[in-house]
Amino acid sequence: MSTPESQLKEKQQVAVEAGKRLIATEEQTTYAKILDIGMKIGLIAIIVAFFLYAFGILSPKIPVTEVSKYWGMKSHDYLEAVNIQPGWSWLSMYKHGDFLNFFPIAFLAGLTIVCYVAIIPILIRKKDAIYAVLALLEVLVLLGAASGLLAAGGH
């Protein structure tokens, strides 16, 4: 297990190696790289998906002229009114322009999970057991939220 001094040394070493006085650990750099690529893909995808929706290239499930009928409702009333199941039902509606937009939104919301999964092996290799466990717990919390299991009681 690394000590605070060795950790600080590592940060300083990284800085010297970079030659730009950038100070970040290996796991932090890995996290940043994945986040950078994923964020760019997600933001481009969200604009493309909305373009396909707004231009009517992919027909929406709810016509754009009717969306305003629903946006003043509570979310569960809206789902009932348009006859859509909550949770991951949007996956099967990818042919509709409006629900295609859920994919990049879910991608952006899932990016943090990927980043955490990527740093766990680094933390284990560095024998940083506490942070490996904390990272694993975070993955479980986020997966629980994404699966809908942790929100089962909310309405």
Binding site: T3, I23, L43, A49, S75, I84, I105, L137
Partner: protein
Amino acid sequence: MRVSRTIATAVIFFISLFILTTEPALASGISKSATSASSTQWWIWPVLLFIVTLVMGIVAVLAGVGGGVLFTPIIGGFFPFNMDFVRAAGLIVALSGSLAAGPGLLKKGMADLRLAIPVALIASSAAIVGAMIGLALPDNITQTTLGIAILAIVAIMLLAKKSEYPEVKKADSLSSALRITGIYHEAATGQDINWKIHRTPQSLITFIFIGIMAGMFGLGAGWANVPVLNLMMGAPLKVSVATSKFLLSITDTSAAWVYINKGAVIPMIIVPSVVGIMLGSFIGVRLLAKTKPSAIKIIVIALLAFSGLRALLKGIGIWT
């Protein structure tokens, strides 16, 4: 100059896109105007949303606040959208902003992953609870509590002090066990700043409340993260601001999933907001050197106070 022209073109393009796209719908809407007034004007709201969030993005950068804290009270108070959709959009707006800023902050060593991981675990778990509470509450209660929360945030913004390099005489035992310490290069002075933190257990408890509020109101949480990281834990101001920005990408992710799973997502609200805020932030960064941030900050605080009051009065039925 070239960048400004590109941005201006992008803005005009986006607005034109909306109007052009909706023209047939508008035309059919006009023909049916006798039967449905709302269908003739539906497109105004997404266009207005884009314009308002664009301005919000500019102002947020100039005032040094997160876009998320402005989004929910202003859009929730003055647009015809249900608070469920507004809060979900607020979280995704804050999430997108922090995802965009995160890589740079992490690579430069300004945001500290070691400091963020334990805090994020607590705050993101609490944000799930907050999101569930928010979705379960009736609209008037949500508006009332949001109004109170926003007015409290205004008070924090007015009263909270900041400390560039807080004095931490001795790291507490928990932060020592977790080895939360760091070093960053201060470009202004050319110094490498070594830092450590204290009061970790108390701060982690505070992050439970911050997480609940972030999830419940879809506010982002920079307004609370920074004072706790900086004043309570003793992290240097720049590390606190950067780590707070990065933290939002984790905290808001968990709450956003709750809203996504509950169907509180309408792309016609979310996408113009995300694009508007991000484009506005980009313009704001360009304008930063030419404006007086203190004057802008006063305007933002006044705007927040007004929005908070509006939410409160809307919630208790005085100003509906």
